[in-house]
Amino acid sequence: MDISIRAGVRAGNPAAFGQIFEEHGRAVHRYAVRVTGDWATAEDVVSLTFLEAWRLRAKVEPDGESLRPWLLGIATNVLRNTRRAARRHTNAMAHLPLPAVVPDFADELAGRIADAAQLAAAKAALEQLRPAEREVFALCVWEGLDHAAVAEALGKPVGTIRSRLSRARKRLQELTEKQLSASASAQGNMQRRPARGQVLDDCASAATTLKETHR
């Protein structure tokens, strides 16, 4: 099935592009929100990613599995330099619908406020890593791509992905140790680990999840 989609995308078939947007648009958006922490920017990134996909359609390999790694790789490039990507598609971006500043429904707004705190905490922690390690971490850990798919997304050898992940782990463990000692001396051992998906108090308390994990 993905082979025919790949053929359709390579041929510039509008229906194929409609289908890959249906299948992967939300994943690209989720990735962009997690990395930027900003819903409006993330919508621009989604549009630019698919406009870039349209521009680069001839580069899609004829054979392969899901096109998600390819799209997330394009999204990564767009995130690295959103302005450059926007310049390439000035005309199309001029017709982009205005971003929804306020969500349509109250539930969505409440969910977004909760997500914002959680995203800010995750983003602040991620920024402790080098940019190259951040990208690999986000694609592998948050988006669930395996090493080979991350390698495909970033156009790097699998060995490079493994070493970047390894460096990311080492760096995060070092940060954990530092926070453990700082936190223990300042606050004692009273912090509790917030459950996954719950609203976090702030970046600092979210970062204390590092502490509880290693007991």
């Binding site: 510039g12 078939n13 509008p14 229906a15 592009f17 409609g18 289908q19 947007f21 249906e22 648009g25 939300r26 958006h29 989720r30 929100v33 997690r34 819903w39 993330a42 919508e43 989604v46 549009s47 698919f50 406009l51 349209w54 199309a92 017709h95 982009l96 619908p97 929804a100 969500p103 349509d104 429904f105 969505e108 977004r112 909760a114 997500d115 959680q118 995203l119 995750a122 922690a125 991620l126 971490f137 592998c140 850990v141 948050w142 395996d146 090493h147 992940l165 990311a168 782990r169 995060l172 463990q173 954990t176 996954r196 998906g197 976090l200 979210a206 970062a207 999840t209 590092l210 994990t213």
Partner: protein, 254 residues
């Protein structure tokens, strides 16, 4: 994914790394924004299709392709029809290669596309119609269309008028060329049939299908729906209506 030792070790590594950072939340793109962004992409792609061929000089080679492609599409249409059990009439003069040929049957509706004509039949029976699926199927057929389920929370300044699904407050729409695009609507007993010629939809216009009861009374979705053309930027939502059974009082009496 197969649970190979390698994939298991990668999974374990992912989990370990995930524990080193706060969870990243699960932000979702709302259906209305998803639709808008998709429409923006599809319009850009359609613009490219409209402008690119005009730049190419015509040659014997392109003439040969113009003949060969419709024949290929007609053959594909026959193949799909035989698979789904729905006969399709093939047109040897077909053009408009962006519209796929075929028949799609789903709960509550049938969508049929020849190279020139798209026919949507909504069956007159209580069904919960999957409108997201209908949107997806229209996209698959390469038709620039927007399917709206009446949204009870819609506050886009658009109001439904009376009991019929007429609308007031649309910024630029409805467009005036519905007849020129071959858009017709007819109740044929078993169902309501809409026909449209996608190639004739004016540039910048979008076909819209509006089902005002879809959210408030899903099984009655078939009872009230309209189609037309929208000019300019399509609204993010259209309002819902409530279904009142006109025979309810009589049923209580018996």
């Amino acid at each position: 994914m197969n649970a190979t030792p390698q994939s298991r070790s990668e999974q374990a590594e992912r989990e370990e790394l995930a524990r080193l950072l706060p969870a990243a939340a699960d932000p979702d793109l709302s259906p209305s924004r998803h639709l808008l962004l998709k429409e923006h992409l599809m319009n850009t792609v359609a613009d490219h299709h409209r402008t690119t061929p005009a730049k190419r000089p015509r040659s014997r080679r392109t003439l040969a392709l113009r003949i060969a492609i419709p024949a290929g599409l007609a053959a594909a249409g026959i193949a799909i029809a035989s698979l789904t059990g729905h006969p399709l009439s093939s047109s040897p003069q077909a053009s408009g290669p962006t519209v796929t040929t075929g028949t799609i049957s789903a709960v509550g509706y049938t969508l049929q596309s020849s190279n020139h004509l798209v026919t949507l039949t909504v069956v007159n029976a209580e069904n919960k119609i999957d409108l997201a699926g209908l949107q997806h199927n229209l996209d698959r057929l390469g038709i620039r269309a927007h399917v709206y389920a009446g949204d009870p929370g819609c506050s886009d300044g658009i109001r439904a008028v009376g009991n019929a699904p007429d609308l007031e407050g649309l910024r630029d729409a409805p467009a005036g060329d519905a007849a020129k695009s071959g858009l017709t609507f007819a109740d044929q007993g078993q169902g309501t049939v809409m026909e449209v010629v996608p190639d004739k939809i004016p540039a910048g216009d979008t076909l819209f299908l509006y089902f005002p009861l879809a959210e408030t009374s899903p099984v009655n979705t078939f009872r009230d729906w309209v189609a037309g053309l929208l000019q300019g930027t399509a609204p993010t939502c259209l309002p819902a209506q409530t279904y009142t059974n006109p025979f309810a009082a009589q049923e209580h009496q018996h």
